[in-house]
Amino acid sequence: MRTSFGERLLDLAVNGFLWGFRILIVVIVVLGTFLTIRAGKYTSEQWIDFVVFGISQGSIYALIALGYTMVYGILRMINFAHGEIFMSGAFGGYFIATWLTGIGFMDKYPVFGLIISMMFGMLVSTLIALLVERIAYRPLRGAPRLVPLISAIGASFFLQYTFRGFFGPGVYAYPSMKALDGEWIFFGIGILKVQIVVTIAAVVMMSILYSIVMFTKIGKAMRAVSENKDVAALMGIDVNRIIVTTFALGAAMAGAAGVLYALTYRQVNFFTGFTPGIKAFTAAVLGGIGNIPGAMVGGLVLGIVESVGPALFLDSIGIPRPYQLKDAIAYIMLVMILLFRPSGILGERVSKKA
């Protein structure tokens, strides 16, 4: 095909800009890293702390991202209400944890208390997700792709303001668990107990999910539906049931993440789900949307870059107040990954399936 000189010039300019952008970012990262390490402002314990903070934040992102990625894998839609599902889990966990703390159960059996809180948070999230799926998404199954997306945004607002209506605009302070205060020492490095617990819980949840998807019959059916809904239906798979299962699993992960998030930051309000929801969506895209290990990797990478990035890249090249740019770092990284690898870190090349 022939293109005019003007079009080719425009092409060149766009490509040039994109390459310039990539080079600029890489230069900033390399230079900043070099200068920071040479300046020696932080001790190695502090660097380890940064990474640990990042991992614990990232594992929460990963848990939420799983819900985005699974629903996308099956329905090719972005469930924008997922952040609110996460928030509802945090609220559910709040009420049960407060009650358990009140009757003294939490102090006596912290492990069971934590598990019960997480279970309850997951239950609340799952119920709400199933309602949302039934009311806001299923009737739109055959509609153009934009329609369920808009419906998802509506559901997101609806849930936010429902919670605001019930629980008011203020913050709820999560009860602090005595068992999670303080640090454990590993090889001379103190790591906060709550972060270890959060990370381990997240890893356990993710392994359970991964085993369900990879090694059970229902997981096989999910993968089949994700490959091709119509053929799966012809093979005798109840597609609706699989879709509901997917929503339930994703929501359970988000509910667990909600409780873990609230344990870490010790407060929850009706708007809690918004920012982590967007971040987790970023993580899902980063890892390759539709890909389950991708969501996990994306979440961890995002968490670590957010935590380490401001200190490592920006501190020493004279950028004042680098932590205000934390989100910018996260999103620039997303742009960079998409520029270099449009399908995400672990995303397979988009197939030419219709």
């Binding site: 008011g168 957010e306 401001p310 932590y323």
Partner: protein, 441 residues
């Protein structure tokens, strides 16, 4: 299919709107009368020519027909984590209205509210809505300096005048603040005083020499920590780190680790409730900051900080207007507050809001002209001038005089220490066992 889809969407939208409306019961209740107020505008317009009164005011008049209310609006933060700040001031205004018997020269006083969300965008939105309502006589607000920065030009250009009970950013009343601020005064102190008081407290009272600051990007926090830093250096101290986070940040441990690397003895974060809670809750978890002394300011002088910050709030310092230095009848105000709302005050600026409302009513009393048929006329420029002319006004917070650049406050700052981290114990005006307790000066 399409019909069902539309029906579903409209049900969702309607339901969420309804829920949004019942979300904030308190403001919704006072907002309800706003609808008749808005429709009254055309009535006023037709009423004007009938009356003998000729409006000669440079920026127009408000005419209040017999039976119509005198419309005062309050704008500030009424939702989100900082809602206590706005709600607290709103109560001050409501008590001032009660003290007038709910009436001004025979007209009911109508108070409506507009949520500005503690952001510049929220301030701009609220101001735009308020500016279109021609029945509004005067305003009290906003809560956060950011809201004023976003909305004041719109209000001033609409001929409105607002008195803020709680904006403290110094530049809002600086002599070179520009014509957009002609409609802006405040009864709150300027942070030029507050930052200085905290610096003196840290250097002279706590005897620390290395301080760090952290702000949340709001114009209030940014300016206040800078005043503190400058004053602290002037006293002979060193500022080892000045960091900032985004207002919606939750994970403070990385930024606190960066601050820890600078080894401060004192960390000052004069931020709002969300960031304040997260920083306080997480600060002791960061290696190197286990024993650093921590302080905030009037933006987080509320029991909500204890909810978000948890046990670490015990021993934290907060600067605020000095309640014990109020020359007016503060105890009497507290009695009315308790009778009306129960519980304790929510934040620090209720008395300033009460004074602001009374300054507005006093100025209104000077300029309002009543017709033979009972119609009340208020010249907008005349009202503005009368507020600026306020001199030796006996308020609760002190004897107030407004400067030509809009500063009406009597700035006396104290530093309080949080004695107990239980939100239920919050009561700064308790006679025997106050929490937080005044410790400086």
């Amino acid at each position: 299919m399409n019909k069902r889809l539309f029906a579903l969407l409209s049900v969702l939208v309607l339901a969420s709107m309804m829920l949004a409306a019942c979300g904030a019961p308190a403001p919704a209740a006072t907002e309800a009368p706003a609808a008749p107020a808005a429709t009254e505008a055309p009535v006023v317009a037709t009423e004007a020519p009938v009356a003998a009164f000729q409006c000669t005011d440079a920026i127009g008049c408000v005419d209040i027909a017999p039976g119509e209310p005198v419309h005062i609006a309050y704008w500030g933060v009424l939702s989100g984590p900082d809602s206590s700040l706005g709600e607290d001031s709103k109560r001050g205004v409501e008590i001032a209205i009660d003290d007038m018997g709910g009436k001004f020269q025979g007209h009911d006083i109508l108070l409506t509210t507009e949520d500005a969300g503690c952001t510049p965008e929220g301030g701009a939105t609220a101001a735009t809505k308020l500016a279109t309502d021609t029945s509004i006589v005067g305003l009290i607000g906003s809560s956060c300096s950011d809201e004023t920065v976003g909305g004041i030009a719109t209000l001033t250009n609409a001929g409105l005048t607002t008195i803020s009970p709680s904006n403290t950013r110094p530049v809002l009343t600086s002599p070179d603040r520009g014509p957009d601020y002609a409609g802006y005064l405040r009864t709150a102190h300027s942070d030029a005083f507050q930052g200085k008081a905290v610096a003196e407290f840290a250097y002279n009272f706590l005897k620390v020499t290395k301080a760090a600051t952290l702000h949340d990007g709001s114009t209030y926090a940014q300016a206040l920590q800078q005043v503190f830093a400058d004053e602290f250096v002037k006293l002979g101290g060193t500022i080892v780190a000045q960091e900032a986070v985004a207002k919606d940040a939750t994970d403070m441990k990385p930024v606190l680790t960066t601050i820890a690397a600078a080894k401060p003895e004192f960390l000052y974060y004069p931020v709002f409730v969300a960031v304040g809670g997260y920083v306080t809750a997480q600060i002791r978890d960061v290696a190197g900051l286990e024993n650093v002394k921590i302080a905030g300011s009037d933006g987080i002088f509320t029991a909500d900080l204890l909810k978000g910050g948890g046990e670490n709030t015990k021993g934290m310092y907060l600067s605020s207007p000095d309640f014990s230095a109020f020359t007016g009848d503060y105890a009497g105000f507290i009695a009315k507050h308790t009778a009306k709302y129960g519980g304790t005050t929510l934040s620090t600026f209720h008395a300033h809001a009460y004074d602001a409302a009374n300054i507005l009513f006093a100025a209104l009393g000077k300029v309002a002209v009543a017709d033979a048929d009972g119609t009340l006329h208020v010249g907008r420029q005349a009202l503005r001038d009368a507020i600026y002319a306020t001199k030796d006004f006996k308020g609760i917070t002190g004897t107030l005089s407004c400067s030509p650049s809009g500063d009406c406050g009597a700035p006396v700052i104290a530093v309080y220490e949080i004695m107990n981290s239980d939100p239920a114990s919050w009561n700064p005006s308790d006679a025997t066992n106050p929490n937080p307790k005044k410790i400086f000066p």
